[in-house]
């Protein structure tokens, strides 16, 4: 009898344990994230990014200050929060990095090879693209995320991104939804946000680009998508391609309305 009772208690404990562990992991992670957010080095990178924005470069020896990010040439205030959006001069929807690349080519006269040679930086040195992104995004603090949704191509990009989000392929048959489709799931100890739902994605689109503690690097949305596809065992997405912009458009529209609160620090 006692043995049965003990067995019962042990079983009940075993059943309760994973739940207990889950609650604690989440709480601990949040506490830690709050702690590191307070000492973010992102602001230092913003200053460097501003210098690059104003630096004369390329065959035409001009700065990016004439670049139209959607709010008029040179307007950086609140520009990031309104991206992605349709740009008539390029006749396509662009996210921040795709637009910056476009300005480097058209305004500064740089070759694509030169401008896109090093879009992702490393621990020693962030890329020009990353520093510029951090600076521009920082000028949208407090502005609700409101990507373009009126133009037919903006709507098309959303719908394409939505389909791509659920599209399974790659060596391991994964789509974005394989990991980000269900609530309260983890890879190892890492909780996974449900990116197809506003409540799961709002805080995320409002905090990239960001400083990533685990990489000790500044990272952008283009990188985040790129590294997801790496882990999904797909081939490599092309920087600024329609597919990557469509995904960003899908995620940003899904999470729209959240006041921009980056660039900060993430685990």
């Amino acid at each position: 009898m006692l043995k049965t009772l003990m067995g019962g208690v042990a079983l009940a404990l075993a059943a309760a344990m994973p739940l207990q562990a889950q609650v604690d992991i989440r709480k601990e992670t949040q506490r830690w994230q709050q702690m590191i957010a307070e000492g973010s080095p992102a602001e230092l990178f913003e200053i460097e990014g501003e210098d690059l924005w104003k630096k004369k470069q390329g065959p035409k020896n001009v700065s990016l200050e004439g670049c139209d990010l959607g709010q008029g040439p040179g307007v950086v205030k609140a520009a990031y929060a309104r991206l992605p959006r349709y740009f008539a001069d390029a006749d396509r929807v662009m996210d921040l990095e795709t637009r910056l690349l476009h300005c480097m080519l058209t305004l500064q006269g740089r070759s694509r090879e030169d401008a896109a040679r090093r879009v992702f930086g490393n621990e020693d040195r962030p890329s020009e693209m990353e520093l510029l992104s951090i600076y521009i995004a920082g000028q949208s603090r407090g502005v609700p995320m409101a990507p373009g949704t009126r133009h037919a191509k903006e709507r098309e990009a959303f719908e394409l991104g939505q389909k791509l989000f659920f599209h399974r392929a790659g060596a391991w048959d994964f789509s974005c939804s394989s990991c980000h489709g269900e609530a309260d799931k983890r890879i190892r100890m890492q909780f996974l946000p449900v990116m197809s739902q506003p409540e799961g994605v709002r805080k995320i689109v409002a905090t990239w680009p960001t400083y990533l503690v685990r990489n000790a690097q500044v990272k952008t949305m283009q990188w985040r998508i790129w590294d997801c596809y790496r882990q999904m065992r797909w081939p490599e997405p092309v920087f600024g391609s329609e597919a990557t912009v469509a995904l960003t458009q899908y995620l940003t529209v899904t999470g729209q309305g959240e006041p921009y609160a980056g660039p900060g620090t993430k685990r």
Partner: protein, 210 residues
């Protein structure tokens, strides 16, 4: 003042968006043409890098069906595809139980198959990324079901060994739209590695069953 203008214009954009709301939060229903568009876009907007070749964006019959039906194909569509894949699993002769200790190391390792992995590095099984197995490993994912006591519950009969080996080799032969990668079919793991994982799951001495 400036802030108010910003908020107002943001609100105006939102209102305009609301006039014909986009299907936020939904999962789109696909037609065969949508699938062709997605494959064509993948071919154009992705490129081979390292060991990750462009063959990876091609869809076989199983994946095409799962994508088309949002992972819930009718039984009569799924069954023949499952049966064909089951028949194609190259089951080795004899015992399917390898060495559970080697299996444990494989279950722990999440290495392999990404474009940043070198061609000669040994692939892992990535099991702990999604499954609970040994009670000693507390860092486990929850995308897959718990495999705790997998063998203790099922025993080690020939049929169970065969099921376990086959499920690791090609999960979609048993459940067409299973979220689990096809570890043998995708050439992530070889015969010996799948045997070792089978032992890790079934061997009474394996911590999975302790």
């Amino acid at each position: 003042m400036n802030k108010h203008i910003l908020l107002l214009s943001a609100a105006a954009i939102l209102v305009a968006g609301c006039a014909a709301p986009l299907p936020v939060g939904e999962r789109p229903k696909l037609a065969a043409a949508d699938l062709d568009q997605l494959v064509a876009m993948s071919k154009r907007d992705f490129r081979a890098r390292g060991i990750a070749g462009m063959d990876r964006v091609e869809l076989d019959a199983a994946l095409r069906t799962c994508n088309l039906y949002n992972d819930e194909p009718p039984r009569e569509v799924a069954q023949p595809l499952e049966e064909a894949m089951l028949k194609a699993i190259p089951f080795p002769a004899g015992s399917l139980m390898g060495d559970w200790k080697r299996g444990q190391a494989l279950a722990q390792s999440g290495r392999g198959m990404t474009w940043s992995d070198k061609p000669n590095t040994a692939n892992g099984g990535s099991c702990y990324n999604c499954h609970q197995l040994s009670p000693q490993e507390e860092s486990f994912g929850t995308l897959g079901t718990s495999l705790r006591n997998f063998g203790k519950i099922r025993g080690t009969s020939e049929a169970i060994q065969r099921y376990t080996y086959g499920k690791i080799y090609n999960s979609k032969a048993y459940n067409l739209c299973s979220q689990m990668p096809r570890m043998g079919h995708s050439k992530t793991l070889n015969e010996q590695q799948i045997k070792d994982l089978t032992a890790y799951l079934l061997d009474p001495n394996s911590p999975v069953n302790k």
